[in-house]
Amino acid sequence: METKYDYLEKSPIRFDAEDKVSGTAYFTDDYKELNMLFAAKLKSIHAHAIIKSINTDEAVKQKGVIKVLTGADLPYLLGIYLGDTPVLARDRVRYFGEPVAVVIAKTQEEAQNALSFIKVEYEKLPYVGNVTQALKQGAFVIHPKMNSYSHLDAIHPLENTNIANINKIKKGNVDLGFVNSKYIAEVNTSFPSSDHVSMEPRVAIAKIKKDGTIIIRSSTQAPFVVRNLLSKFFNVPISKIIVQTSFVGGGYGGKAGIQLEGLAYLLSKAVGGRPVRLINKREDDMVSSPGHIGCYQKVKIGISKYGNIQAMSLIYHFDSGAYADYAVNISRAAAIACSGPYNVENLYCESLCVYTNHPFATAFRGFGHEALFGIERALDILAEKSGIGKLELRYINAIKEGDYSPTMQYMDENTGNLEKCISKVANMLNYQNGDYKMIDENTVRAKGISSFWKAPAMPTNTDAGAILTFNEDGSLNLSTGIVEIGQGSYTSLAQIAAEILKIPLKKIKVNYEVSTLTSPHDWATAASRSLFMAGKAVIIAANDMKKQLFEIAKIPLRCAAEDLILEDEYICQKSEKKKRIKISEVALGYVYPNGNAIGNQIIGRGAYLSKGLSDIDQETGKGSPALEFTIGVEGVEIELSLLTGEYKVIKAVCAIDAGTIINPNLVRGQVVGSMAMALSNAINEEFIYDSSGKVINPNLRDYKLMRFKDAPEYQVKLVNTEQKDGPFGARGVGEQGFLGIYGALANALSCAIKKPVNTLPFPPSKIYSIYKSAGEI
């Protein structure tokens, strides 16, 4: 790649590669504490029931058991947006897998073993099995005490209903828009609840020092959020809490917010502050802890004779499961970006977050923007109806600079280039050869495409910080509050520091250990914002260092600071580069030959705070919630047997407008990783319930993910519309590659069998049954 940079737009090997490949990287569970105790959770066997009694008498007598606790012992509610979640179920359970009791024992085996001696007596309550049932007149109200829950202002729960949040977007005149439409498509689509299946299950280790300081080590994406929520819900001063984390083995949103930390703290408190490790078994991680949200979409789109979208009406019903957690903000995020990357002047959206008796949902790669796949299905149907090409229809309606987002945010010069992404995807898929081809009498090849976009849905005052320090030899140490969750941000952040300070990467160490005690404040490693925000902070910190270096160096070099530049680890005079001093001679203060010292050690300080953002209006949805939109297009090509519905994804492609590329391999890694995760999710992943709401596949025996063997050929092309307020013009790419896959695959399958495929997931038996069903596309 031709580049004007020394260290950017290049793909050095990740800083954490050797540790991870050799198995020597330390994850939370690798840390052992002296006198550590172990905890295990007993899970509810019912989806909805009153807890009549819990008898722990036998369990406490088991070998090694220190303590058995139930909800009655721990009367606390938690929740990042809405405080509705008991740390252990009290009085009733609301989903299959909900923790009802905890055993603390001397070993993990003893804790686990004692669980089977706890006797719980339940009385079943009506099972609210989906959002339709939950929204019905007279539906059983899952949270009758909603009015007593604390919640953030941005969330709007409706008492005496199962609605945890409601957001609306109203733009233009939708009714008139439909009147002016030549073609109208209506489509109902959905995706079910599923799981993140991070390689590392969640784990937290808590202890309390004699002075009351709470120390939590956790597999968290959000140590500062954890600290804040612990303080808020347990009424402990923030100064008394330290949250630490090191490498996290996959987050995908599932380790944002607060997870096991609250319970781990209470367990340590119950045993006098001794360290307690609370770890999820895989089965716990899948249903007991929160997963991927489900959603029903009712989409109606009208276009003019020429293909311009005249009106769009959207109803999103998100299945939050038993508790709100992040789901209430996911439904809000979906509303904020509800139109997809299209210019829609007449727009209506109603996005509900609905309680059911399913395992609850939290943040997940894509954060609700995957609901936009309904729009992509409708666009394909409109293309069929109008005879306008599928690519062309998207091209005509692509959002551009000068348009307005659904919340009436002005789309500025940073708006990504959807048209370029469409044409790149068309090229990669050889779309000029059409999207449908019979290979033999029973085999079809078909292509499908989908646009996507995503804006981070985060607090309006989201921040990041960076601290750079020098060592004696002029090498550099970088600390931020970003957690390494697999994304590789630290390598990019080091590249940014190297670029500004002209210090080679091998002389930069990054601090993967994040601690609320020593790391600069950081909102959370979520919302695809690590590189964007911490990157900005690193730029400021590196420039701060540079300025200080020049201030000291100008004295022995006898020139003005503005006459200096950095080059190859030297501070040089611009006009006469021979006149120079090594950075290492200045890094900790300069010492003259006679021993006199000047200056001092140089510490680089950088910080970022998002500015100018606002929440959205409850009635109209107007506001400025989006920091940036990352836009792109994805496509897949499949080969499908009409005899059996079996198909293979041959090719999956993505063109994404990522702005300036700091590290091409990491961008590709994020995009391909997202695509693989989405393909697996779209083809096969879902929680399956029996008639009483019990999850029948809460383990990896029965819940299968796609493996490399089934991976298609992946192609990624990048578009580079600079994000002027991003670091060197870069924007976030952590999640977006997930978002177009649902639509692209649904469209390819619909094209292949000439019947609408709208309900995820898409195992071959379902495709066959749709193919054989009556009715046309």
Binding site: E109, E646, L705, K772
Partner: protein, 278 residues
């Protein structure tokens, strides 16, 4: 992690394993024979089984044997699926061994696949079709009898009887065959919804399958429909499927309508394949 304690015993010979198993049984314990351990570990984890003693068979020579001569091949029950694949002497069995993934197949044994708790028992299908003999150790010492005599959904022998291995005629092991295995979505590493084999001996086509009807079985009464060379494969396939009077699996992985369709396609393709290679 297996939370409950259990004892581990390593047997050095058949008699020792057998008598120890009996002893534990008589003491009202719950003995399990152990070879690869993939099921014992994963089911114990979920508390679906809780052995009091596991008796390791890996040191018993006979159970690890692989013998081949002019006429017969013997597969010890403790051979891992990967070992059977590497021996490569029984093509249909090799195919049937290609389940799950390489890592698991390095542990999972032939005996475990056939005698375990899971209903699929894929590897028993080619053995049934090849009219294999089962060799086992019982009260009266080593016994050999027809596998199909003792197999009905699973091996119907008293649990203490220790299956040493399986013997097949070399000729039958090399009969032409047609095999398909399908899962709900990702073939290979999910449980099967459909595993089926057709073999051909002289002009006759024989059929065995698992998962489709919830368990492993050889269906004898289809042979005359499948082998009726007066009719084209498509007709024969339809007739054979109509002739089946068994209950299809019906769960989140598959349903009757889909399985019937897969079976019809399978018969048609299989017949054409087997008759095409004459």
């Amino acid at each position: 992690m297996i939370a409950n304690n259990f004892s581990y015993a390593k047997a050095e010979n058949l008699a020792e394993a057998f008598s120890y198993y009996k002893k534990i049984q008589e003491e009202n314990g719950k003995p399990f024979y152990l070879s690869g351990g993939t099921e014992i570990v994963s089911f114990s984890r979920e508390k679906k089984i809780s052995p009091s003693v596991v008796i390791d068979l890996k040191n018993i020579k006979e159970c690890n044997d692989f013998n081949i001569n002019e006429e017969k091949i013997f597969f010890g029950s403790c051979l891992t699926l990967n070992q059977v694949i590497e021996k490569n002497e029984f093509p249909a069995l090799v195919q049937a061994c290609k389940i799950i993934d390489n890592t698991v197949r390095n542990r999972l044994t032939l005996g475990g696949n056939i005698l375990g708790k899971l209903p699929y028992r894929e590897t028993v299908l080619p053995l049934l079709l090849a009219e294999a003999k089962i060799v086992y150790y019982c009260e009266n010492g080593i016994k050999k009898e027809s596998l199909s005599e003792v197999f009905d959904k699973r091996i119907q022998l008293p649990p203490e009887n220790l299956v040493i291995g399986f013997e097949v005629d070399k000729e039958k092991a090399n009969n032409p065959f047609y095999y398909e295995r399908k899962s709900r979505a990702f073939d290979g590493y999910d449980y099967p919804i459909f595993t089926a084999i057709l073999t051909k001996e002289e002009e006759n086509i024989y059929f065995a399958c698992t998962a489709i009807f919830n368990y492993a079985l050889k269906i004898n009464n289809l042979t005359r429909f499948l082998s009726n060379s007066n009719l084209v494969a498509k007709i024969r396939a339809g007739e054979a499927v109509n002739k089946i009077n068994l209950i299809y699996a019906n769960n989140f992985r598959a349903n009757e309508k889909y399985l019937r369709n897969l079976l019809t396609c399978f018969f048609e393709k299989g017949i054409e394949y087997l008759e095409g290679i004459k």
